[in-house]
């Protein structure tokens, strides 16, 4: 997993799985990279093959942490390029109401602001 920061956006890439084996380390690593001047977090799920309940829990926990960390309007967490099955899992757990989901091939626009 790689975490890069550019122009106020924290990008998480190279996530091959998001499940009980790495959910804790994922959350810790991303939460540790948060700062007050961030405008968005983008989590690239293009390489993510499996997501389970623990991984979804980590995403929700990250949402909560980011909400506490960054209360300014317009802040967004985007989940980009999820495989269809990963998107199904996200939707089953209703996390598409919390995060902006950008399917493969979609333009990044209309970020959903994080509620404060």
């Amino acid at each position: 997993m790689n975490i890069n920061r550019q122009n106020g956006t924290l990008s998480v890439t190279g996530l091959r799985e998001l499940n009980s084996t790495n959910a804790h380390s994922f959350r810790s690593a991303v939460a540790g990279a948060l700062s007050h001047d961030l405008q968005a977090i983008e989590i690239d799920l293009s390489q993510t093959q499996t997501v389970d309940g623990a991984g979804l829990g980590a995403l929700v926990a990250l949402y909560e942490t980011a909400k506490e960390h960054r209360k300014r309007e317009g802040f967004a967490i985007r989940l980009t390029n999820p495989a269809p099955t990963v998107q199904q899992m996200i939707e089953l757990a209703r996390l598409h109401h919390l995060f902006e989901i950008t399917p493969p091939g979609s333009a990044l626009d209309g970020a959903i602001p994080l509620s404060t």
């Binding site: 959910a23 929700v60 998107q87 199904q88 089953l92 209703r94």
Partner: protein, 286 residues
């Protein structure tokens, strides 16, 4: 009078549906496909029906028995492959043609519901869902015991339990012994087969929930066919095996025709993650 029924063999477009049962035994609004067709043939005056089954004939036979329920004599014959209508006629209608129902009612391939030939069942999951939706307003037939139309477009089966705080949006079909907890939303265009359990706060719309399926708290099943732990999005044609039983699972052990592919993913999420996840979602979304 005699008739032939041809069971559909495997269909690539709905492979997941045939994973646990032959397609003729898959339930739709509380009845299997072969049961709908035996109803239909009994209504046409058939007295003897030969059912040709290439896929798991023993299960087909176990599902319908000897046909006493319909006042028919039913014989299930194992076949090497799915026959065409003409092949079936040539092979089986060797006796006096006067003993068979007149064509085209003498042979049916069960790839659609009786009376709905314009709606193929097995070309895609979207077609399967479209047929289930079309069947809803026609399914309350006199032979259905205990099914009630609670309000226009909302049908509830025998011994189903719907909590007072659950929301039912027409059209929806709630099968026998289904259980819907308070705060759940069912519909529009939702079919719950028998013994489905919908937990508190879950939402089901534009979807079919297969028999004995548990749908967990605060989950959302939309544009999907959920069958045990299998979730098919009929709109995007993608299929997911859910490994977290608190989200979606079968209420009873399932026996697949072939062993499922081994997955590196754990079967159960850690309890702490499950509890945390449920707490977060319930706080954030309610």
């Amino acid at each position: 009078m005699k008739a032939l029924l041809i069971c559909p063999d495997g269909r690539f477009g709905v492979a997941t549906l045939a994973e646990f049962l032959p397609l003729s035994n898959v339930s739709m609004l509380g009845k299997t496909l072969v049961e709908y067709w035996l109803d239909h043939l009994a209504g046409l005056g058939a007295q003897e029906v030969v059912v040709l089954a290439a896929d798991r004939p023993d299960q087909v036979r176990a599902g319908i028995g000897a046909g006493a329920r319909w006042g028919l004599r039913v014989i299930v014959q194992a076949d090497k492959r799915e026959r065409t209508l003409d092949e079936a006629r040539i092979k089986h209608q060797t006796s006096d043609h006067a003993t068979w129902l007149p064509a085209p009612n003498d042979v049916f391939l069960m790839d659609h519901l009786p009376g709905l030939p314009q709606l193929p069942l097995f070309t895609s999951y979207a077609d399967w869902f479209a047929a289930a939706r079309a069947l809803m307003p026609r399914a309350l037939t006199p032979d259905r015991i205990g099914v009630r139309e609670l309000k226009p477009g909302v049908w509830v089966g025998l011994n189903a339990r719907v909590a007072a705080g659950a929301k039912l949006i027409a059209p929806c079909w709630i099968g026998e012994r289904a259980w819907i907890e308070a705060g759940a939303t069912i519909g529009p265009n939702a079919v719950l087969e028998r013994e489905v359990f919908i937990a508190r706060g879950a939402e089901v719309s534009h979807s079919v929930i297969g028999p004995e399926t548990f749908v967990g708290q605060f989950t959302e099943v939309r544009n999907s066919i959920a069958w045990g732990s299998t979730l098919v999005n009929w709109e995007r044609d993608s299929c997911l095996k859910v490994t977290d039983e608190f989200l979606l699972c079968s209420r009873k052990p399932q026996r697949a025709r072939t062993a499922p592919a081994k997955s590196s993913a754990p079967i159960h999420a850690p309890l702490s993650a499950m509890v945390r996840f449920r707490e977060y979602v319930s706080q954030l979304l309610t």
